[in-house]
């Protein structure tokens, strides 16, 4: 176990090292391109190490506009992005996993084709276009559901964790649960749009995984034993079909974040996407490397965490604990 962890951490360190070099390169290029003040002539290696030192002391620089520390702001915004992703993921898992399982079970039937068509449609809808078309909704259905913004402005929520769903629970003495419900209502539409893509992806993966499991020998054996189909599906197939989806989804994480960033911009949600977009628009380019480090840092950590969890829950993967390769 220990050697496995060390090996993974090693890989993590190398990747992180490359990423800091990229961030450093971006930072320097920005300085050269957009800064008027004369540069301190210094060795690039030395500069890099001082940059690295700043990163380790949790200092990614300050915004050129309002002198706020970039790391804190970036993290607060990133928390909102994660919140959106999480809600969308929850949303799409509830819908997509059953659909994917059905499609996999009844492969090449009309049901399968119908489900896959829905999945392709979800993938093909340009998210920003859906967001723009959503502004037509209030003129149709009035003030049922908000289509824009973080949450209603009547609530003044102090930032505690950055996750508004949690922060709203800190102010219950003032607003009761209204602020929380308000936040949920504001998340529904963007999360639904983000889940279009996620549903397509999860349906595909679940269907594939289910097909593979249903073809495998142990399921055939179970059939041969004369177990009923429902028992086979629920007792044997599900357990083995779902876990492989998780590492596949992890590979899609950066794409999901990409979509989430677009959606934030379209729906005016606070998030790392809006933050970077506005920073670029106002010429505050130093937010770019900071944002990049925050996002990639998260993706790396998350990947490692998933890998460890997979090793713990999946017996097949546990083999890699001992393998020397």
């Amino acid at each position: 176990m220990l050697s496995f962890l060390i090996r993974r951490l090693n890989l993590l360190l190398i990747t992180a090292f490359i990423l800091t070099i990229i961030a450093f390169a971006i930072d320097r290029t920005i300085l050269v391109h957009h800064q008027t003040q004369p540069l301190v002539q210094q060795d690039y290696v030395l500069q890099y190490f001082s940059y690295l030192w700043h990163i380790f002391s949790a200092d990614l620089g300050h915004s050129a506009l309002d002198q706020q520390p970039l790391l804190q702001r970036g993290l607060t915004f990133f928390a909102s992005t994660l919140e959106l992703c999480f809600v969308a993921l929850l949303f799409s898992c509830i819908i997509a996993i059953p659909l994917g399982l059905l499609a996999g079970l009844f492969r090449n039937t009309k049901l399968d084709y119908a489900i896959m068509t829905v999945a392709i449609i979800g993938l093909a809808l340009p998210v920003f276009w859906v967001g723009v078309m959503a502004v037509l909704l209030p003129s149709v259905w009035g003030d049922i559901l908000p289509v824009d913004g973080n949450m209603s402005l009547v609530y003044d929520i102090p930032v505690v964790t950055g996750f508004l769903l949690i922060d709203t629970l800190f102010v219950t003495p003032e607003y009761g649960l209204f602020a929380f419900f308000d936040r949920v209502a504001h998340l529904i539409l963007p999360a639904a749009v983000l889940s279009f893509f996620l549903i397509a992806e999860i349906v595909r993966l679940t269907r594939h995984s289910m097909t593979m499991v249903m073809r495998s020998n142990y399921i055939q054996t179970a059939y041969a034993k004369g177990f009923s189909r429902t028992k086979i599906v629920f007792k044997h197939a599900l357990n083995n079909a779902l876990p492989p989806i998780i590492p596949q989804l992890r590979l899609q994480l950066s794409t999901i974040l990409s979509f989430a960033m677009t959606i934030e911009i379209v729906f005016n949600l606070n998030g790392i996407g809006t933050w970077l977009f506005n920073s670029l628009k106002t010429g505050d380019y130093h937010a770019l490397p900071a944002g990049m480090l925050i996002i990639t840092g998260f993706i790396l950590m998350f990947s490692i965490a998933i890998e460890i969890i997979m090793v713990i829950i999946s017996p097949i993967r546990r083999g890699s604990l001992y393998a020397d390769k």
Binding site: L11, I14, T15, I18, L19, I22, I26, T29, I30, H33, M116, I120, I121, L123, A124, L125, P126, V127, F128, W129, V130, V132, M133, V135, L136, S139, S254, T255, L257, S258, M261, T262, I265, G273, L276, F277, L280, Y285, L288, G291, M292, I295, T296, I299, L300, S303
Partner: protein, 296 residues
């Protein structure tokens, strides 16, 4: 001659021809293919096909609805925008920018990516390891973010946006093709070929390439879909095509203020993107199924 024909019945078809014959039996996919051909023709010859110039203004015919709605005119089938410019013509030019750009990206990225991926799969040692880690790092950056970073350096313009998207999609493609080849490399017939003393190029050309058709269609399809979405997204955000270029995403952004007055102007470009992606996906799915069936 006649006699010969009688014996030709059990002629063995080449694999590609066999796949093609299976593909032809899938009517939806064939329809999709023809639509794709039409779209490509549109994007190649948009300037000759359109009824009006996309920039021609007409102060007397501003904001006409499509012709099937009251007040529309057959002269402007999909209506006009706020300066009296023909929506259909602008849409055709938009398809030229968006679809054409995506095709270019797909073409170049697949060639470059495939060769790097194959090179990485066929070599071992430090070089492959460095590439591996570099890919790991680059893949952790969301493609939209890397495109934004590149655009910041290049400056926003259509060509720069294509370049930025190509570069941001390249790592994903390299990784995907690398994985596909890697998987194939471990199979026994490849090992047999290697034992036969086949050179690496020969190994790739005759051993691997024909057998990774199925994953290749999937990753090409994905690459193309992402390219379309990103071109349109960057255009929408104002970092891609600049006015007066009529890229589909920027068309949506520029007509956003008119959405209550003439929703068509926002709806049509979005639908165009939607249809392009659907059609290509249907075609690719059909092709993939044909390849799978052909292999079985």
């Amino acid at each position: 001659m006649l006699i010969n024909n009688g014996f030709n019945e059990d002629k063995i078809q080449s694999p590609l021809r066999y796949i093609w014959s299976i593909f032809k039996s899938k009517s939806i996919a064939v329809v999709a293919m023809w639509v794709i051909v039409c779209l490509i023709l549109i994007s190649l010859f948009a300037s000759w096909l359109v009824p009006h110039s996309p920039l021609l203004q007409d102060p007397d015919k501003m904001l006409l609805p499509p012709y099937w709605v009251d007040g529309g005119s057959i002269d402007h089938v999909l209506g006009t925008d706020d300066l009296g410019r023909d929506t259909l013509s602008r849409l055709f030019h938009g398809i030229q920018y968006t679809l054409g750009g995506a095709l270019l990206i797909t073409f170049f990225v697949s060639i470059i990516g495939m060769s790097i991926g194959a090179g990485a799969a066929l070599t071992k040692g430090v070089k492959a390891s460095i590439l591996h880690h570099l890919l790991d790092a680059l893949l952790a950056i969301p493609s939209l973010l890397s495109a934004l970073i590149l655009i910041t350096f290049f400056g926003p313009s259509y060509v720069n946006c294509l370049l930025a998207i190509a570069l941001s999609l390249l790592p994903q493609f390299i990784r995907a093709s690398y994985l596909a080849i890697e998987q194939e490399l471990n199979k026994q017939y490849i090992i047999a070929l290697q034992l036969d003393g086949a050179a690496k190029t020969r190994l790739f050309r005759y051993g691997i390439l024909p057998n990774i058709l199925e994953p290749t269609t999937t990753i090409l399809n994905r690459l193309f879909t992402m390219a379309i979405i990103e071109i349109a997204t960057l255009g929408f955000l104002g970092f891609g095509a600049q006015l007066p270029q009529t890229e589909l995403g920027s068309l949506i952004a520029n007509n956003m203020e008119l959405i209550y007055l003439s929703p068509w102007l926002v709806a049509f470009p979005g639908l165009a993107i939607f249809i392009i992606i659907i059609i290509v996906n249907v075609f690719a799915e059909g092709l993939r199924h044909a390849v799978i069936e052909g292999e079985e």
